[in-house]
Subunit: 281 residues, 2 copies
């Protein structure tokens, strides 16, 4: 099976590596518009060849869109035009799914497309961040599979099986709501934390000297790339705003309790938050 | 040297273990009012003996207050009364320092007291959380050392040297401001994140199913104990409120930019937040 990967960054590059190493792909054709990334991807061995979009689609059995969701939304119809009337299968790996499914809706080749979200990653990006084993044991969400052909879905399940992922199924709108709560908001809270302390650093040069492991852990995601996150936050607009509003309310509850020296209320909020132990080990 | 440790939890227990293992303490006398903790501490071998406060102070050369800061503020004058007129040295290990120094101010035995903050820990607590090596390579802040006798300060430096800590010196008010930014706010953002998603779980039973490594990392500190954090937030009141206010402002900047689909502004905020890379590796 020849796999075409459009975008050889953290996700696309890591998929390419393991799909080939594990025998799912006999050959990987890469599309990578940034020259420096293309050279790195070839150098690292993420792809056998870097080609243009049309050559990639023409020469591949499965085409993986692994570019930021803003660009993927624009590119998907173009790729579907190219695969119409063939047996080729197209997937994307973006973390916003409703906008992707909407743009594919009614396309002649809609059934060749499977909307997927392999839930893995790090705060790094680019071909240099790609690594084997990134997806092992993690969850992969397939959305609105009733719009895809059963044959396409089966092939995609096989692909994610090669990556050792647990495949689950969801409506794209439910997916976007869920990830707003358990992924997107974490990034925003980290960015806001980074901005808060960086702001203070302007007056207090040594503010970071005492930064602890706890701080690093909560601020880590603030290293995440704007190229990836700007379109996610814009395209998952409604869900993200709703979560931010709840989050600001919770933060204000803390503020009021601290402001009033209301130790009972602070204790109640912390004890409630401690219930996260049930979820996170 | 006999070391008395009042409170054999994560911090006190971990200090006891390494101080004895590394030869600084020939013997550890522990004070632990919770029976279950006292039995655990003896069972694990954190202390040679569990005694009452008076026996501990009478039999120790160095006394370490390792209880939550609210209780430590109340206990410090009592311990200083007991050491007045002796060569004994008293330290505390709380993460709020101004309130501790204020309560000691003017006490006849003030110079026997050194205010310290060994910056290490985990989100767990109790004697079961104690571990060897917890402090290795981390920073320890000594506050307002001009109020302590040089002899007491030298002894405390030796103690932290045995724990492999880097000792630095600060005013207690500056310390409290710094930790509000690089430690206390991280805990509040984690608690608020936990509360936000736990709240949603009431309607959406499976909201945590997609929780990723990024979520775990940002929410980890929400497992931290209320016993420890209620008095910290109450006693570092002014600094914590100021940081929360800046933080809410930053969060609102994100909210407005997303609300207006202002991708340039979202990009600017993320790019600014990315500068944390300079600090956190």
């Amino acid at each position: 099976m020849i796999v075409g990967v459009i975008g050889l960054g953290l996700i696309g590059g890591s998929m390419a590596v393991d799909l080939r190493k594990r025998g799912f792909a006999s050959r990987v054709l890469g599309v990578e518009n940034e020259k420096i990334n293309a050279e790195a991807a070839l150098g690292i061995g993420l792809a056998d060849e870097i080609v243009d979009l049309e050559t990639c689609v023409a020469g591949s059995d499965v085409i993986v869109l692994a570019i930021p969701v803003g660009a993927a939304v624009k590119m998907l119809p173009k790729v579907l035009d190219l695969v119409a009337g063939t047996d080729k299968v197209v997937i994307d790996v973006c973390s916003v799914k409703e906008a992707m499914c909407q743009v594919a809706l009614g396309h002649a080749a809609r059934s060749s497309y499977v909307a997927t979200h392999p839930m893995a990653g790090t705060e790094y990006s680019g071909p240099w961040a790609a690594m084997p084993g990134l997806f092992d044991g993690r969850a992969c969400i397939l959305c609105d599979v009733e719009e895809s052909s059963p044959k396409a879905v089966r092939l995609v399940e096989k692909l994610y099986d090669a990556l050792n992922m647990r495949v689950t199924y969801m409506r794209s709108d439910a997916h976007d709501m869920h990830v707003a709560y358990v992924s997107h908001i974490s990034h925003i809270t980290s960015f806001a934390l980074a901005l808060t302390v960086l702001d203070k650093e302007k007056d207090e040069k040594h503010i970071f000297d005492l930064a602890s492991g706890g701080f690093s852990s909560t601020v880590r995601l603030a290293k995440s790339s704007a190229d990836m996150w700007v379109p996610i936050l814009a395209l998952n607009h409604d869900n993200v705003l709703r979560v931010i509003d709840t989050y600001i309310d919770k933060m204000k509850e803390f503020r009021s309790a601290i402001d009033a020296y209301d130790e009972d209320k602070i204790r109640e909020l912390i004890a409630e938050g401690n219930k996260i132990k049930r979820i996170i080990r």
